[in-house]
């Protein structure tokens, strides 16, 4: 885009699903957009969820209108970025202790929300999902899917850059220049020093950190922060996303994603948006809650546990005890040109971007509708659907099997070299988020040092050894939450490889936020 003809300058704070959705919507409307992210894309709440692209069926009874919006958005995302979506399908199963009348309400709610729903014979469902309870008495199929969060966010960020926008990673907002009561500039600090970003408007899309950003804007945004913890099981224990057929709550969902399955979630109100520690009791609670759905769950191999913090704007005078609305909120901070958008879900992130885009456009008196639902994300119109064998297929097709770097996720050396050489990405966690290195059962035990060897080979000045140490410490942090069974053996093996073979010393020092997922 020619900068001289660009529209008003908007800085979007936060590189999660919300911020990326907002930034893309704005750039498609002709704004001059800069996205500022404190860490890497999607290293906060946007990668710390159950991985589902919702059909909306989960909310079919509790909020039918929202359920319909989810279904509409789910279709749009699948069309825009099939390479980041896996069409797993979803099941809602009634188990003996689920309310008997929920099934009929659920079916009616799905139909009202235009969610394709089909009742299945429980015997067929139990035959095709051998891991789940034998006590299923009703079952419904809905088009739930899963999304690869980092893949999608990197596609969105690439599109923003292609259209002339800026994406600043590892830049922290330090202050806003609000001279005269209007947004003038955003001061940020990055790896190469401070920057002043001239701006006509700001959108605060910092998720659980939105309250802190709002304070820098001189505003007070009341958020309720809820931590949700998730257990990561080795392998795909189920073929479809399994939901309990009851009002949406905690502990009711098992999702197959990538090479693993996720069970979640807990829900507890927290004060600190950076809280990602999973307490031992939460692990026990998750196991107890998963047992009725997947009998014998304690004998299954768990790879790690992690947590994310959901931010929801608390409406004024909201009665205590009543669960907060799922829908997002856009707050217009008066005539200053500052906005905060918070809440919502991954599935609706594009719609959230559109809503924020409407607010910003109307602030500048610009009458240009959103194009984010219809404009392809990639110039070539999107790739083919992703599934867990895609990586392996690539390795096979290229006959690069002997150059495999990470066996668990079928990542070969050439793919890593390309990221290092073409995109300048050398930090292991950044490579991990983009390529999935280190996500499998060995949790970085073998691929960690191979990655270090390759990156050191490509750039001898990069502190690969220190990076390897930090990579291992972070992998271990999540893995030691679930140190039992075969995974306890894996942790000891990993310890033997890193300390007794490579000679690395374990060090519990602090590492950058967000890398433990």
């Amino acid at each position: 885009m020619d900068k001289s003809t660009a529209g008003p300058r908007v800085v979007v704070v936060g590189g999660g699903a919300t911020g990326c959705g907002v930034a893309r919507d704005l750039i498609l409307r002709g704004f001059d957009v800069t996205l500022v992210e404190y860490g890497d894309l999607g290293c906060g709440t946007s990668s710390r969820f159950h991985g589902m692209l919702q059909s909306g069926a989960r909310y079919a009874v509790s909020d039918t209108v929202y359920a319909g919006e989810c279904m509409r958005e789910r279709r749009i995302i699948n069309k825009l970025a099939p390479e980041a979506v896996e069409e797993t399908g979803g099941l809602f199963v009634s188990l003996p202790d689920d309310p008997a009348d929920y099934g009929d309400k659920f079916f009616a709610g799905c139909q009202e929300a235009d969610i394709p729903v089909r009742e299945l014979d429980p015997a067929d469902v139990m035959a095709s999902e051998p891991a789940i309870s034998r006590g299923v008495h009703r079952a419904f199929a809905v088009p739930d899917a899963t999304v690869q969060p980092w893949r999608l966010l990197n596609l969105v960020a690439a599109d923003i850059r292609r259209r002339g926008g800026r994406v600043l990673l590892r830049h922290r907002v330090t202050s806003f220049d609000m001279t005269g009561g209007r947004v003038r500039a955003v001061e940020v600090e990055g790896p190469s020093g401070s920057l002043r970003l001239e701006a006509d408007a700001v959108v605060n899309a910092a998720g659980p950190w939105s309250g802190e950003i709002a304070r820098l804007l001189g505003q007070d945004v009341a958020l309720e922060l809820t931590k949700g913890s998730i257990l990561v099981f080795a392998h795909r224990l189920v073929t479809r996303a399994i939901n309990r057929c009851r009002m949406p709550s905690s502990f009711d969902i098992m999702v197959p994603t990538g090479t693993v399955s996720l069970f979640g979630t807990t829900s507890e109100v927290v004060d600190d948006p950076s809280t990602t520690l999973v307490r031992p009791q939460e692990v026990q609670d998750l196991l107890d809650a998963a047992e009725p759905m997947i009998p014998g769950i304690r004998d299954r191999r768990v790879l790690r546990a992690w947590a994310g913090v959901r931010p929801i704007v608390k409406p004024d005078n909201w009665p205590s005890g009543r669960s907060l609305p799922r829908r997002h909120t856009v707050i217009d901070h008066g005539a200053s040109g500052a906005f905060t958008i918070c809440g919502g879900s991954w599935t609706t992130h594009r719609m959230m971007g559109e809503d924020a885009g409407d607010h910003v456009a109307s602030f500048f008196g610009i009458n240009r509708p959103s194009e984010s639902a219809t404009t392809p994300l990639s110039p070539d119109g999107g790739g083919s659907a992703w599934n867990p064998t895609t990586n392996y297929q690539g390795v096979e097709d290229a006959q690069t099997r002997k150059r495999t770097l990470c066996e668990c996720e079928s990542i070969d050396r050439d793919l890593v070299s390309q990221m290092v050489n073409d995109e300048g990405l050398k930090r292991f966690h950044d490579l991990r988020r983009r390529l999935r290195i280190g996500f499998g059962p060995c949790q970085g035990t073998f691929c960690g040092s191979r990655l270090a060897g390759l990156v050191a080979h490509l750039d001898q000045d990069f502190p690969a050894q220190k990076e390897l140490e930090a990579f291992w410490a972070e992998r271990l942090k999540g893995a030691t939450r679930t140190a039992w069974g075969h995974h306890a053996r894996q942790i000891i093996l990993s310890d033997a490889v890193f300390r007794e073979n490579l000679g690395i010393r374990l060090d519990d020092k602090a590492h950058p936020a967000g890398d433990d997922r």
Binding site: S449, A452, G453, L454, D495, V497, L506
Partner: protein, 406 residues
């Protein structure tokens, strides 16, 4: 079937115990479900390398800082020294050619370019003293994944050393450590292969560092041939597992057991035992076979090898004999380092003859526990895996021999 001693497990401690008992004239059966963990071992005799995060120079002097019930404290420095000296002079150690006799650690070079304190090591394993200040070349085999030579070279360069990294195709079609080693073992003329290598080797090379894959049986011949062909020092650096130095040690152990007419029963997983009060009478395998015994040495490898099991509540059990495991810290520690430490330090408590408690303060009379099954030590933090295995295995054998009488 009846043996003087059944050794359960093919860990280093089990091999050492069996070798010592055979040497003392006892009949021995080693019963194990599989291969044990020696193929994870990078070579070198690690006795006590780190204490409180600091490198240790004199391991024997360092043991006073360890937990009261640490295996080395149970053994004491004199008995430790007796066990390690025996190993150095035994056919097991001879297969490895430890330099032996030292009381001070030297530093081995790791593939990450770091240093590990080691009491003794093979003469062809790269040590800091041998490489420092020399013109080095780091060799890697193209496609070999398990040797991060880039990291090794970068760390040397960072430390101001003169080093070049080169890569050549491995002998044979495949690129994993074991297949490359087999190719060297079966090569007609290793000297000729290294002769070809000299074409790409920088001419001023003093020391050639190679991944430790130059054979699993003939490695000494291969290294000698390489030294002659290249006219420089050739030293091995251990790879990621599977590690040939550990495999060579395992092979030496197995060869010795066969030579001494010991019995090796693979595929035997102990599922239980029959005892008469404080004496084990027989052990029973998972398929129902029973072996009558006069003494048992439990060398099942701790959590790593399934000798100890951890359940989802964080409770640790010993599945073969049903022994009580000691757990002084909960596994659900907040810091990862503490959680791994708790996992390591859990295990079986024993007396000075490595006999676990039977009832009250009385020990089992003919049952001994060794190696990673023991409580109160941490091989990762201490860099002490081989030392504890040899010391506990050897002393358990001595005690069993004494109990059996003449």
């Amino acid at each position: 079937m009846n043996y003087d001693v059944v050794v359960i497990g093919t860990e280093l401690d089990g091999w050492v115990a069996a070798a010592r008992l055979l040497e003392l004239g006892r009949s021995v059966c080693i019963a194990a479900p599989g291969e044990g963990s020696l193929h994870y071992a990078p070579g070198g005799l690690h006795v006590l390398g780190h204490l409180q995060g600091q490198p240790v120079t004199e391991p024997y002097a360092g043991i006073s800082a360890l937990h009261d019930h640490h295996p080395y404290r149970l053994a004491g420095a004199d008995r430790m020294h007796a066990a390690l000296s025996w190993f150095d002079n035994s056919p097991l150690g001879a297969g490895f050619t430890y330099r032996g006799g030292q009381r001070c650690n030297s530093l081995a070079v790791t593939s990450a370019g770091l240093q590990l304190p080691v009491l003794s090591s093979c003469d062809h394993q790269a040590g800091v003293e041998q490489v420092q200040g020399n013109v080095m070349t780091v060799l890697n085999f193209s496609g070999h994944r398990d040797f991060p030579s880039g990291l090794l070279a970068a760390e040397f360069i960072r430390n101001g050393e003169r080093v070049t990294a080169i890569a050549v195709d491995p002998p044979g079609a495949r690129t994993d450590s074991v297949t490359i080693a087999n190719a060297f073992d079966t090569m007609d003329d290793p000297g000729a292969w290294f002769g070809d290598l000299s074409a790409v080797l920088p001419g001023d090379t003093d020391v050639l560092l190679v991944p430790a894959v130059l054979g699993s049986k003939r490695h000494r011949d291969v290294i000698a041939a390489a030294t002659r062909a290249l006219d420089c020092t050739v030293l091995e650096v251990p790879t990621l597992p599977p590690c040939l130095p550990g495999i060579r040690l395992r092979n030496a152990c197995e060869r010795y057991i066969h030579e001494q007419a010991g019995t090796l029963r693979r595929g035997f997983r102990v599922a239980g035992m029959d005892a008469d009060q404080d004496r084990v009478r027989s052990v029973t395998g998972s398929t129902g076979q029973t072996i009558d015994v006069s003494a048992v040495i439990l060398a099942t490898g701790g959590v790593l090898m399934g000798g100890l099991e951890v359940d989802s509540h964080g409770k640790i059990t010993e599945p073969a004999m049903g022994l009580d495991a000691c757990q002084t810290q909960p596994l659900s520690k907040v810091g990862a380092e503490q959680a791994v430490d708790a996992l390591h330090r859990a295990g079986i408590e024993t007396d000075e003859d490595f006999r676990p408690r039977h009832s009250g303060s009385r020990p089992w009379q003919n049952l001994h526990v060794t190696g990673r099954n023991l409580a109160h030590w941490n091989p990762g933090a201490e860099i002490s895996a081989e030392g504890v295995a040899i010391v506990s295995g050897w002393l358990a054998a001595e005690a069993a021999h004494r109990e059996l009488g003449s």
